[in-house]
């Protein structure tokens, strides 16, 4: 990625351009909206430029736009690979250009594990469009029928004569042809795929290993100042008064700036507070310590997470809003057959991205240019425009690499802070959050309480199943009156795919007192924990093998059609129980389920679900020592993500998911006292380290020609239940509330 130090203020991609290239009228890839003109990319200015995603220069350089954010998810490599494949471009001659926020690319909100699934066809069509123009240009030059021409690596060939012409040599002629319509395109058959399905390294791999890759934390502009902000300790709090005399005496501190509080709902707005402006980050941090601020704590100062937990549990014990109902669960419960019930709990979680929130922005001549590690640059445009009172099209949001995101960096509050301060100060401002700021002022995953109950037949299989979840809804971030969950119910709650005739799903009300947001795997983190733990409890209760039991609950292979008001399955992605069974059986087989002798203190646990259209199952092996210490020697994860673009990176994502899930299970817990978050750094919000993480995660990819699905999140939320099920197998101790750090395992 290009360094942005000491470059023109128009933005850093300009400098990479060769002069003289002329611009074609831009045609629009189907489904992509053309917005107002913004900064031209090298692809825009290349000789051949049939759509917003690609351009070819006369020297054969192919520019491909990466319009989604790169945070370790691999999309900056995967999406251009899809286009390059369909274009038959030589990957070594591809230069990837990171897009600014611009609606002409379509959706750029890099969340919900959908970069590949959402843009697979669009990338292919963008490549095929360009390939067809090159073929037509060659055929015209050679005066031969188009049907006699085909592409090979970076060349068009005339098949009868073997004559070839390089892409670069054809770019100018191709640029004079009309851009073909979608109906004229012929996509390559799967058998001709060159890159899709083949392992590749990250485009930025060497830069990362050399310390040369540019993250948000690394953005610099001449004349910039640094800001560190003391936020209201309680959500909705405001500054009553403050003294900065001591802060201003700190060497390198220039001034302080009061930032206005947000207008509810808080959405993505800055929290407000007092910013310390300084010559460097350290001085800004030091100055902050010397601020004396008197706060009005606001409406959430009575929030105590311990009390709240009890309230959630109490709500979950009572009838709640029914969101799915089949058969008659109550009648079955009243028949007098055996019933089992259990309660589960998952606390608030923080993202703790390795790179804390950080942003650089410059307000100049009524426009803002920002460099932001963001998952959501178009939202940053909106947010900054509103915060400083300019038009969206006057905000340029450059997207740096992200030092991980996990959902936190879809919320652009920190970018708006930088823009607001730059407008006030008349110079570029870099806002740097400390780790404490990150942990204490997050958009936390909701705290959740779940209640499950089943009536059992003589073999211990449920004849009726009830599940209730109660948690403050993430929509509270956008609607202060929100009390019930909405889309979160699609995260492994409504569509629990069990073959049980009487089935009822409920959701109860709760009010948010901290900012809530999505975190990698979102509501699945608590829903799948409850469901897959309860399945294991029922299996043991029935004296049956957990694997055999969960397959019995899934029932026979079939496509499940859930007829539930308000629930719609995405077209092209039916819930296929056969695929779910296959990953479950594969993970078990690879783990040696029922075949390996494990020894004292060891056990296996299994969990499986579908998330982001991907079917995934994990078998976790644990060892609990005589002292009660937990080790995770091995995990086997089977994944069916449909068509896979970069298997190497699917494996990496699932390995990482196992570690992320381990962190949630072992130690993830955010609590609050009097509205103030108790945790602040990696000492009191620990995440898994090398000696606590799974020693080895084996990822087994199911070959599939189904449409591509997501791989960033699905593997996270099977880990906590599989891990706790393994602990039960090893010790007989059932964990129903996370994190494990609150429990003695012996």
């Amino acid at each position: 990625m290009t360094h942005i130090q000491n470059v023109s203020r128009r933005g850093f991609v300009k400098g990479a351009l060769s002069g003289g290239a002329f611009i074609l009228a831009v045609s629009v890839v189907p489904g992509v909206v053309r917005a107002n003109a913004t900064e031209k990319t090298p692809a825009d200015e290349a000789t051949l430029h049939p759509n917003v995603f690609v351009g070819i220069e006369k020297d054969g350089t192919v520019y491909i736009i990466a319009h989604r954010s790169e945070m370790g998810n691999g999309s900056r490599t995967a999406l251009p690979r899809i286009l390059a494949d369909e274009l038959d471009a030589d990957w070594k001659r591809v230069k990837i250009i990171q897009a600014i926020g611009d609606a002409r690319y379509g959706g750029q909100d890099t969340d919900a594990s959908h970069s590949v699934s959402g843009f697979f066809s669009i990338m292919r069509e963008a490549g095929a469009t360009t390939r067809l123009m090159l073929i037509r240009a060659a055929a015209e030059q050679w005066s031969v029928p188009i049907a006699e021409c085909a592409t090979d690596l970076h060349v068009v060939a005339h098949l009868p004569t073997g004559r070839k012409s390089a892409y670069g040599d054809l770019a100018l002629a191709a640029s004079k042809l009309p851009v073909p319509g979608r109906d004229e395109l012929q996509l390559k058959p799967r058998s001709k795929w060159r890159y899709i399905g083949k392992d590749t390294s990250l485009y930025d791999l060497e830069d990362i290993c050399r310390g040369k890759a540019t993250y948000g934390m690394d953005a610099r502009l001449d004349g910039m100042v640094y800001a560190s902000i003391e936020h209201p300790p309680v959500l909705g709090g405001t500054v009553r008064s403050y003294h900065d005399d001591e802060a201003l005496r700190v060497s390198g501190v220039r001034q302080t700036v009061l930032i206005d509080p947000f207008t509810p709902p808080h959405e993505y707005q800055p929290l407000g507070g007092v910013a310390v402006i300084a010559d460097n980050t350290w001085a800004a941090f030091q100055g902050r310590k010397k601020l004396r601020i008197v706060w009005d704590q606001g409406p959430n100062a009575a929030y105590n997470s311990d009390t709240f937990r009890g309230e959630l549990q109490e709500t979950a014990r009572q009838p709640c809003k029914v969101v799915r109902n089949e058969g008659d669960v109550d009648a079955e419960f009243n028949k007098g057959s055996k019933t089992v019930q259990a309660e589960y709990f998952v606390p608030h979680l923080a993202h703790a991205t390795m790179e804390p929130p950080v942003a650089l922005a410059e307000f100049r001549d009524g426009k803002v240019t920002a460099w932001v590690p963001t998952q959501n640059p178009q939202s940053v445009q909106d947010l900054i425009a509103k915060a400083v009172g300019i038009r969206k099209q006057d905000v340029i949001c450059h997207v740096t690499l992200l030092g991980s995101g996990f959902g936190r960096k879809t919320f652009g509050d920190y970018a708006a802070e930088a823009a607001v301060l730059s407008k006030r100060l008349g110079k570029p401002v870099k806002v740097v959050w400390s780790r404490e700021d990150d942990i204490k002022f997050g958009y936390y995953l909701p705290v959740a309480s779940m209640y499950l109950k089943a009536a059992l037949d003589s073999r211990g299989k449920p004849t009726a199943w009830l599940q209730r979840s109660v948690f403050p809804p993430i929509n509270s971030t956008f609607d202060s009156t929100a009390r019930y969950a909405s889309w979160e119910l699609n995260n492994n709650w409504i569509e629990v795919p069990f073959d049980i005739p009487n089935f009822r799903v409920e959701n109860g009300p709760a009010q948010a007192h901290v900012r809530l947001g999505w975190l990698r795997s979102v509501a699945s983190a608590y829903h799948t924990f409850a469901v897959q733990s309860f399945v294991d409890e029922l299996a043991h209760n029935a004296g049956r093998d957990s694997l055999e039991y969960i397959l019995d609950l899934f029932g026979p292979s079939r496509v499940l059609k859930l007829d539930i008001p308000g629930y719609t399955s995405e077209p092209g992605y039916p819930l296929d129980i056969g695929r779910l069974r296959r990953v479950t059986e594969l993970a078990a087989e690879k783990a040696g389920w029922g075949k390996r002798k494990l020894g004292k203190g060891r056990g296996l646990g299994i969990a499986a679900h579908r998330y982001a259209h991907t079917y995934v199952a994990s078998v976790v092996e644990v060892e609990v020592t005589d002292r009660g210490d937990l080790r995770i020697p091995r995990i086997d994860t089977a994944v069916d993500a449909g068509t896979v673009v970069n298997p190497a990176y699917v494996r990496a994502q699932l390995e990482g998911s196992a570690v992320f899930g381990t962190s949630i299970a072992r130690s993830g817990e955010i609590t609050a006292a009097n509205g103030v978050i108790n945790q602040g750094n990696f000492d009191d919000y620990p995440v898994a380290r090398i000696d606590e993480a799974p020693y080895q995660t084996n990822v087994h990819i199911v070959e599939s020609e189904a449409p591509p699905a997501g791989v960033g999140e699905p593997g996270v939320s099977v880990i906590p239940p599989a891990l706790c099920n393994a602990i039960f197998s090893a010790t007989g101790k059932r964990i129903r509330d996370l994190p494990l750090s609150k429990h003695r395992l012996i």
Binding site: C209, T214, M217, E355, G403, N681, D683, V687
Partner: protein, 152 residues
């Protein structure tokens, strides 16, 4: 005036001697390969070498680095790649990559002192470096690959 050597270049600094070496490297010298992660020596993102030993630059006052030789990720290989960087690339270790400079600097230190580290050595020496993306098993493999005699 603090005198020190950074990646072989003599430097002098007249600012706050309490400023952690991390911010001197990043904000004053513009060497941004070394990352800020926690400010409390809890995560290892900021790991550099001082006189050849891995330290957390986020808590070392620049004044305490006076007269010493500092090596950052940018200076670890004069030409080409350090074998540890090469191993990191061969095994596709990074995901987001933010922590990896610190991981590499810590691993180089480990291998210098223990050319053939045991599993326990790796656990002990690398446990101070957090990777939130969870690349630990590849870090372990890369260290083994880069160790004396190598192993893949």
């Amino acid at each position: 005036m603090i005198q020190l050597k950074v990646n072989g270049v003599e430097r002098s600094f007249s600012g706050d001697s309490e400023m952690p070496l991390l911010w001197y490297l990043r904000d004053i010298l513009g060497l941004t390969g070394t990352k800020f992660g926690c400010g409390e020596a809890l995560c290892g993102c900021c790991t550099v070498h001082v006189d050849g030993e891995a330290i957390r630059s986020c808590i070392l006052p620049v004044g305490d680095a006076a007269g010493k030789e500092i090596t950052t990720i940018e200076g670890i290989a004069e030409n080409g790649l350090h074998p540890v960087q090469r191993a990191w690339m061969d095994l596709n270790v990074p995901q987001c990559g933010y922590c990896q400079a610190g991981q590499i600097m810590q691993a180089i230190d480990l291998l210098k002192r223990k050319p053939k580290p045991s599993e326990r050595d790796i656990d002990e020496q690398m446990a101070g470096n957090i990777c939130r993306c969870g690349t630990y098993q590849r870090i372990r493999s890369a260290i083994k690959a880069a160790s004396a005699g190598g192993a893949s």
